[in-house]
Amino acid sequence: MSKVRVLVGTHKGAFVLESDGKREHWDVSGPHFGGWEIFHVKASPVDPNRLYASQCSGWFGQQIQRSSDGGKTWQPVGNKFTYDGVPGTHQWYDGTAHPWEFKRVWHLEPSLTDPDTVYAGVEDAALFRSTDGGETWQELAGLRGHGSGPHWQPGAGGMCLHTIILDPADPQRIFIAISAAGAFRTDDGGQTWRPINRGLHSEYIPEPTAEVGHCVHHIAMHPSRPGVLFMQKHWDVMRSDDAGDSWREISGNLPTDFGFAIDVHAHEPETIYVVPIKSDSEHYPPDAKLRVYRSRTGGNEWEPLTKGLPQSDCYVNVLRDAMAVDSLDACGVYFGTTGGQVYASADGGDSWAPIVRDLPAVLSVEVQTLP
């Protein structure tokens, strides 16, 4: 029978949650790296026992950890992230020039074909790649250097590169997103990049339809349709059918179109999930009800999913990398909250139950479907 492994990064350590395919009973291991912030843990799709974790601390900086046994044991690998050449400046919150400074790794994206190749999205925003299992890291400097970099500005959470999507149909194509610069795409393996923000409208910036400056929170793609992208922007849920060349809004009947997480059903490319959050100044669900919204029509028409989720007095947030799906039939959907719960649905979102209730604040959730 298949198994599911859920990789959870929290404010104070990593946790590995495992179940059989029924997804009813869960074994919880951890904390790994207790006391450290674990921004992200993700597995290689070609070697499911190869995991990478981003571990950081305000005291002791960044570490990258690697596991070769599915998270039972870990080994610290390379933590030297040096910008290529003279880093230059980006804009600070007040619009003044500010030097690029490495702070932390937000997201790790293992290669689709090689377990030793992994990408890292970092703050201040840049994309790094390792081809030796995380021992050494090199910046793909064409992203910062393509021209708009000096105009990027941090979002409230910092100027982070938080989303990396590798195109399964085209190994030369990568999508990334930065708060608060926007989305970018390379079609030549990371040498050259261009902004893909046409159609985004952000009223809170001086030029609402600017080429860069949009606070993209997360992007999701179904691997069978790599040209179709779904985006949760600061405000607005968006869709592109041309690999990001243009976007249109699909917020439809959502109670609020602010939020962080977005994901796509494993077997239904037009079924997408978001967790609406009240506003950018009130990072909790509207009406204190934790509701996942599902669209089976690729957007615009949304239904609330509430069974098993708290429907009163709930004031947690769901962060951008804290939602994931498994590929069992029926598709499992998972998300973690800043209140330390990890909720799972084994029926595509129709009903939910917490796997764990009392972890530290959850920063990220990833899922592996294992044979």
Binding site: G35, W36, S57, G58, W59, F60, G61, Q62, Q63, P76, N79, K80, T82
Partner: protein
């Protein structure tokens, strides 16, 4: 042998139990002690001082013989009691944060 006391998180990271005994070639300074420490435990590179600038991380402090050595020049000689091993060289994480 110079005795180095590390904060708990760095001991865990480097799988160190207790203090570290280091033999330092040449004059014992903050720089030479950290060089020797990082040579034995490469995973500590970047955790105490910056990889490139070699500047002490802001929330890390150095103490020995009841003195705060955090702002001493990195090439200044360490106290004789530290060099002889009678007193440890403390690397301390600031009591701050959450």
């Amino acid at each position: 042998m110079i005795q180095v006391a590390l904060p708990a998180h760095l001991r865990t990271l480097a799988a160190i139990h207790g203090d570290v005994s280091l033999e330092v070639k040449g004059q014992a300074t903050i720089r030479s002690v950290l060089d020797a420490l990082e040579a034995r435990y490469p995973m500590l590179r970047g955790t105490i001082r910056d990889h490139v600038t070699q500047q002490r991380r802001p929330y890390v402090r150095f103490f020995a013989c009841q003195e705060d050595l955090s702002h001493e020049p990195p090439d200044a000689p360490l106290p004789a009691q530290v060099v002889s091993g009678a007193e440890p060289f403390f690397i301390v994480g600031a009591i701050a944060g959450g």
